[in-house]
């Protein structure tokens, strides 16, 4: 599965993540599941410039993950089969699910150094996802 985004789609997606419901921007939820999930996840980050910078640093060291669909899958994956993936969380509890996931990453040692900062692998991948979406240009979106 591959995903392609335009910068316009991404920026609107970020806005949708923050105030999407209020504004009724349901247009952006009409794409594929992975597209919608990427929008939903990155919408948790209210400072996309900061996230994108960190995400770029992460991707520089982990180029094999420079694929939005793969990142969505990795973020959604759960180490404990008894637990639902974080991406299964409804909108209203997505943030708390991510918070719990990040906490467990630190407990389990699922961390990564990004320019020296010890980050949870989940938050690093979220940043990478933001970076990918932000880098997407209309020219790339054939």
């Amino acid at each position: 599965m591959s995903l392609r985004f335009t910068r316009r789609t991404f920026l609107a997606g970020l806005a949708a993540g923050i105030v999407g419901a209020a504004l009724g921007l349901r247009l952006y939820w009409s794409g594929g599941n992975a597209t919608r999930e990427a929008m939903r996840l990155t919408g948790m980050l209210r400072h996309p410039d900061s996230a994108a910078l960190l995400g770029r640093l992460y991707l520089d060291k982990n180029p094999q993950e420079a694929d939005a669909a793969r990142l969505v899958t990795l973020i959604g994956a759960t180490q404990d089969p008894a637990l639902p993936p974080v991406t299964a969380a409804p909108d209203e509890s997505l943030r708390s699910s991510l918070e719990e996931r990040i906490r467990n990453d630190f407990i389990d040692g699922d961390t990564v150094a990004v320019d020296g900062w010890l980050l949870s692998i989940t938050e690093a991948r979220l940043c990478a996802l933001v970076s990918l979406l932000k880098d997407a240009t209309p020219g790339k979106d054939a």
């Binding site: 400072h47 900061s50 960190l54 961390t111 010890l118």
Partner: protein, 520 residues
């Protein structure tokens, strides 16, 4: 009584029960403890009552290993010794610091923390510090009206330093020495040789010189060497007329195992969107009713045992506070991504628990702050290393004595241990949503150039049960020498990560009790 040795007639012989060489924290403590007894004491100080450059120059020496401070800048050679520039940080060694840890070669004191606890208790008022409650979290929480960090992974925990005013022993206790009928303090009296019997089994006297003045001798029943962890081995090595290797050096241990507490002022960055969780005690000295306190972070014993690590202690210093005003300005710290990580943490981390600090001692965080950027400093334990050592230089001082040469060496395991504890700090903070940590040390065993000592000289006449493993025994008596004792941090078997002065005073009290029994 305090007098100037330069006024003594040449070749005077002074006879006394106890000769104490060095009037610093250890020497003055022992003299005070025995003041008023029927034990006659001669307390010898190389300097005067104030700083004098020509005397201070006697401390000059060579640095032959990794970079270290000029030796004459580390210690003060006048009445009160280095307490005259002491910073006042107090904290006892922890119980695990005394243990033989099989992952740290040469570790294991012949005494335990419990053996020293009664003396730590007595050391508190001498250092003018508060209650002996260094690890009593609830006690300090009640006192300041704020909780310590919620650390639940069992990796790191909060500990507490107390601050001496600091006590300048030479000033604070000068009157006690002056008024003690059984104590004779001689200023400007530099011991140049510890004389021994031919077999080296007993000290028979001390040769003493003054700069530009008379030389004289002291004969005592017991002798205590208390001149610091560089000068103690220096004098033992210099005293080689009967024993070519020096006094107490049958097993070539004198001067070896020199330890410091490697300090890195900014070993990690920390950004937090929950500044309220770090109560004021983490970021500043708190002046309480009868103590001055500061919180710090240490690895738990469980982590040290499980990961086979060495001690370390971390403090937090605030670099800046984020608020709604400065967050709209362009970032000035782009190269470190401080603000980017801060933004990430506040986007995904737990919400703040309170908006305002509780009343009382806390004025942290400032009103309106959204977070903070901090630097973490560390002091860590250096494992005993026989190649890290003090020897004699070929250069000579104004009295014709060979100067000290220091070869300070740190090991790869010292550094790797510190790095793993830093990772534990970062994990704990991340898991608790307290912040994110940027680790600045490389993952290898190479120490960065910016590592400094803490002016904490330790280990060069280490304590051990057997003469094959140490210079002094559990009573601080030099192995194989019937009447010579050593006081001060040179007897530390391992150094933990606590500043040494409180332990120096506790050990001095213990030695005073022992010598009192011996001489009574």
């Amino acid at each position: 009584m305090i007098e100037d040795a330069r006024r003594l007639p040449e070749d005077t012989l002074i006879e006394t029960d106890l000769a104490i060489i060095g009037a610093g924290a250890a020497g003055i403590t022992i003299a005070r403890e025995l003041a008023g007894t029927n034990i006659s004491i001669c307390l010898l100080e190389s300097g005067g009552l104030e700083f004098e450059q020509d005397t201070q120059n006697l401390y000059s020496g060579e640095n032959d290993g990794r970079w270290y401070f000029p030796l004459d800048s580390c210690r003060l050679r006048y009445f009160g010794g280095s307490t005259n520039h002491w910073g006042g940080w107090c904290r006892p060694l922890t119980p695990i610091d005394f243990e033989a840890r099989d992952w740290i070669p040469h570790s294991g004191w012949p005494i335990t923390r419990a053996d020293l606890d009664p003396y730590y208790l007595r050391a508190q008022p001498i250092t003018e510090t508060g209650p002996f409650r260094y690890d009593a979290t609830a006690f300090w929480e009640d006192l300041i009206g704020a909780k310590m960090l919620p650390l639940s992974l069992g990796l790191i925990t909060t500990t507490f330093f107390q601050y001496s005013p600091p006590t300048r022993f030479g000033t604070r206790y000068r009157k006690d020495i002056e008024q003690a009928a059984n104590v004779r303090a001689l200023l400007h009296a530099t011991v140049t040789e510890i004389e021994t019997s031919e077999a080296g089994a007993e000290v028979t006297g001390l040769r003493i010189a003054t700069l530009g003045g008379p030389s004289f001798r002291i004969r005592a029943r017991r002798y205590i060497l208390a001149t610091g962890a560089i000068e103690n081995p220096r004098l033992l090595l210099l005293s080689n007329r009967m024993q070519p290797a020096g006094v107490g050096n049958t097993h070539d241990l004198v001067g070896r195992y020199f330890m410091e507490h490697p300090h890195i002022p900014s070993v990690a960055n920390l950004v937090t969107s929950r500044p309220e969780a770090f109560n004021a005690a983490y970021t500043q000295h708190l002046s309480l009713a009868d103590s001055i306190m500061h919180s710090a972070l240490i690895p738990t014993d469980a982590l040290l045992r499980r990961e086979r690590l060495q001690q370390a202690v971390f403090t937090v210093g605030v670099l800046g506070v984020y608020n709604s005003e400065n967050l709209t300005q362009p970032a000035t710290d782009d190269e470190l991504h401080l603000r980017d990580v801060f933004n990430l943490q506040r986007d995904l981390g737990p919400p703040r628990t309170t908006d305002h600090p509780p009343a009382g001692y806390n004025d942290w965080p400032p009103a309106g702050s959204l977070g903070a950027s901090c630097a973490m400093g560390c002091a860590c334990e250096q494992a005993p290393n026989p190649e890290s050592r003090v020897t004699l230089s070929e250069e000579r001082d104004a009295l014709g004595l060979r100067r000290a040469r220091l070869d300070w060496r740190l090991s790869e395991t010292d550094k790797l241990s510190l790095n793993r504890i830093l990772h534990a700090v970062a994990k704990e903070f991340g898991a608790q949503g307290l912040g994110r940590v940027r680790l600045t040390l490389s993952d290898d065993g190479n120490w960065p150039e910016e590592v400094l000592g803490g002016y904490h000289h330790m280990g060069t006449t280490r304590m051990a049960d057997s003469p094959e493993h140490g210079v002094v025994d559990a009573n601080c008596r030099v192995h194989g020498v019937a009447n010579l004792y050593i006081a001060g941090s040179s007897v530390f078997t391992t150094g933990g990560a606590s500043n040494p002065t409180l332990t120096i005073v506790a050990l001095a009290l213990r030695l005073a009790d022992h010598v009192r029994t011996q001489l009574s």
